[in-house]
């Protein structure tokens, strides 16, 4: 039986056990003389949890471990029959066997065909065992629990424990995935730093990953100094924040403090539409509209503006971030207690004075946090800069020139046919790690700053 059929079956089992248990508990409670310790639904949930989760765990374990076990077994088999084979050869044969057994390729070598036959037999036996054990576990637990409902035992407490475990496991899964992502990033980066000196990467002023067109081509070694790329990223993010911070913050202040309910009901959804535009659309807006526009203005002023300027990319990125900043700030400003506003207004302060001298200082820690989150977002943003910022790594702080960013370089290094043991490809992971470290530091600063400041204002 397939994974999904099995899952559906045990869900059906557990629903049955839920209804059976709760109705049996209901009957018992009705005829009981003493006050029961839990409601019928708690007994139902308790029995549902026992019917579903152990069997589900078993199913997961079998599904993950089963094929690994079979593979290892066959590797041993192959190694026994052909002692001369090395590891790579064994892997290759195993892959062939697998492909033959699921019918994607065919072979006329009788030895391989036989192994493939054995392989599929073995696998189906494992799956049959999985089906039986999962169904057995689910049904036995379901029957035992639901036929032994004891209303004197408090199942509410046990259900509570189940919920706690469920939520805990979800949290742990989220953490583990994060750890896994970081680990893979670190692993690939370490491979890169084995090929290229760490400090040359960190402080190098020249970024030129020469991409070999053919594998036999004698390419230059390439130079991987990340500073120009990092500087480009910071420049674009800075321009974005210069655009987004005042507009976002001021619009939030307007919405939270000054706008009437009617105006607010119109402006807020409009800003949210801005947040809903896909970044790729912003990207071609930047490349096709903003960049030529800025270039034209620059030309009339007698400035030399490149067609893919940091200014265009940054400005459009800023527009993208406006709703992010404004909706976060709006929430933060709204959470300042009304009593502070009343106090200030009651002293004869105007609305603007109240906002600037009382509301904003009280909201400041939250606003700093929101601002730094927006900065991390600007730094990690990819699509706009891919389309509008360009590829050449100039070490410049002139916003009218072409710059490139970390994300753009990663995209260009990893798109298309790539070899994953090549220094150029691996350098993308180095960049990824640098970007991750950078935004992590920013987020930590945001956290520390807002905590420090809110202590002061509590």
């Amino acid at each position: 039986m397939s994974f999904s059929t099995l899952l559906l079956l045990i869900i059906a089992f557990s629903l049955c056990s839920f209804f059976f248990s709760s109705s049996s508990a209901f009957k018992k409670i009705k005829s009981a003389t003493s006050r029961p310790s839990a409601l019928p639904k708690h007994y139902g949930q308790y029995s549902l949890a026992w019917t579903l989760f152990p069997a589900f765990l078993l199913l997961i374990v079998f599904t993950i471990i089963g094929p690994i076990y079979v593979d290892n077994f066959f590797k041993q088999q192959i190694a026994l029959t052909e002692a001369s084979y090395d590891k790579a050869k064994i892997e290759l044969i195993l892959a062939m066997i697998k492909n033959i057994s699921n019918g994607s390729i065919s072979s006329d070598e009788p030895k391989i065909l036989k192994l493939a036959d054995e392989y599929s037999n073995y696998l189906s036996k494992i799956y049959l065992f999985r089906t039986l054990s999962v169904l057995l576990l689910s049904s036995i637990l379901g029957i035992i629990i639901s036929s032994n409902i004891n209303i004197l035992k408090n199942s509410r407490v046990k259900v509570e424990t189940f919920y706690r475990i469920l939520f805990f496991v979800s949290a742990v899964i989220a953490i583990f995935t994060t750890v896994g992502i970081i680990a893979s990033l670190l692993y690939e980066s370490l491979r890169f730093f084995a090929l290229y000196p760490f400090f040359d990467f960190l402080f190098g002023l020249h970024w030129a990953p020469n991409i070999a067109i053919r594998s036999d081509q004698v390419a230059a070694q390439g130079s991987f100094g990340m500073l120009p790329v990092l500087l480009g990223t910071i420049l674009v993010a800075l321009i974005a924040m210069i655009v987004a911070l005042p507009i976002g913050l001021f619009s939030a202040i307007y919405l939270a403090e000054f706008a009437s309910k009617r105006v607010r009901d119109i402006i807020k959804p409009t800003l949210e539409v801005l947040a809903g535009i896909p970044t790729v659309v912003y990207g071609y807006f930047a490349a096709l509209t903003a960049a030529p526009f800025i270039r034209k203005i620059g030309m009339t002023l007698g400035l030399d503006v490149s067609s893919e300027s940091a200014l265009a990319a940054g400005a459009v990125m800023g527009i993208m971030i406006i709703p992010f900043i404004s909706s976060l700030s709006d929430d933060i400003i709204n959470s300042v207690p009304q009593s502070l506003r009343d106090g200030s207004l009651g002293l004869g302060a105007t609305k603007a004075e109240t906002t600037i001298k009382v509301v904003l200082p009280a909201a400041f820690p939250g606003l700093v946090g929101a601002f730094l989150l927006a900065v991390s977002r600007a730094i990690g943003e990819t699509m706009i800069v891919v389309m509008a910022a360009g590829l050449s790594a100039n070490l410049t702080i002139n916003p009218l020139e072409t710059v490139t960013t970390v994300t753009v370089q990663i995209v260009s290094l990893l798109t298309g046919d790539t070899e994953f043991d090549d220094i150029k490809t691996l350098s993308a992971f180095g960049l990824g790690l640098a970007l991750f470290a950078f935004t992590l530091i920013l987020n930590v600063i945001a956290l520390v700053v807002s905590r420090r400041l809110s202590e002061q204002y509590d």
């Binding site: 009343d342 106090g343 207004l345 009651g346 004869g348 302060a349 004075e353 001298k357 200082p361 009280a362």
Partner: protein, 257 residues
């Protein structure tokens, strides 16, 4: 219209307040005397706070609130177009139910109002003003060594006196107090009541209170509100000993409320 008796501070005529279509108070006419304490009492939702907030136009802050009738402060209608509510609130200060000092230093809290109104041009004048206000609020001995501490770190009673000092600092004529002691313990309450009595020598004080004992202790005049109507208004001893209205009698003897 000029009042003959010059010791009248507020004169209200047929004041009604609506929140949307719901009427909160109904045609209140009430005269409030200068440099006295007037207490507004009544059960929850009777409109006493709403009436109080009309006197410095704090109801303007609430978007769907509308006020009808006339409120004269020193003979001038405060709801006429020429009156700037911001200046009015400098003249008619307010202390709220929950102590609401700003999350700033004690000094900055007191100096906030004067700075906004351009009182106290230099640091020395401002410092004098802050000290004087804290002295009037009976707080100076407790906080004079820590004026730079955050005001929100003080106790509830101290916070409330900071709010009173803050209101005094802009030199108002009237101080409105909206249940100023309801969040405080009895000792802090006693201090505030003592403070009110001494302040009433220089300021007109109007206090909304839930506590009839408090009204009896501090006020010279008491107004009893019920369901948005002004039931009875008179000298405090008379209201508490021989009220004219049966409803007042029922309320002060605790038969409802």
């Amino acid at each position: 219209m000029v009042d003959k008796k010059n010791n009248l501070k507020f004169k209200t005529k047929n004041v009604s307040v609506f929140y949307g279509s719901k009427q909160a108070i109904n045609k209140i006419s009430l005269d409030i005397e200068e440099k006295q304490i007037t207490a507004l009492i009544g059960p929850s939702g009777c409109g006493k706070s709403t009436f109080l907030r009309c006197l410095n136009r704090m109801n303007d802050v609430i978007s769907n609130c509308s006020v009808n009738g006339k409120i004269l402060l020193d003979g001038n209608n405060i709801y006429s177009d020429e009156i700037d509510p911001v200046l009015l609130r400098a003249k008619v200060g307010m202390v709220f139910q929950k102590p609401n000092p700003f999350p700033k230093s004690i000094f900055e809290n007191i100096a906030y109002g004067p700075r906004i109104h351009g009182i106290g041009n230099n640091r020395a004048e401002l410092t004098d003003l802050v000290h004087h206000s804290l002295e009037q609020a009976g707080l100076i001995d407790e906080v004079k060594d820590r004026l730079d501490d955050i005001a929100t770190g003080l106790s509830g009673g101290q916070q409330q006196r900071i709010c009173i000092a803050r209101a005094i600092a802009v030199n108002p004529d009237v101080i409105l107090m909206d249940e100023p002691c309801s969040a405080l313990d009895p000792i802090a309450t006693a201090k505030i009541e003592e403070l009110m009595s001494s302040l009433s020598k220089s300021y007109t004080i109007i206090i909304v209170t839930h506590s009839m004992q408090q009204a009896g202790r501090v006020s010279q005049k008491t107004a009893f509100f019920h369901m948005g109507d002004l039931i009875e208004y008179g000298e405090t001893p008379k209201i508490f000993t021989q009220p004219d209205q049966q409803k007042t009698q029922d309320y002060i003897t605790g038969r409802f409320g």
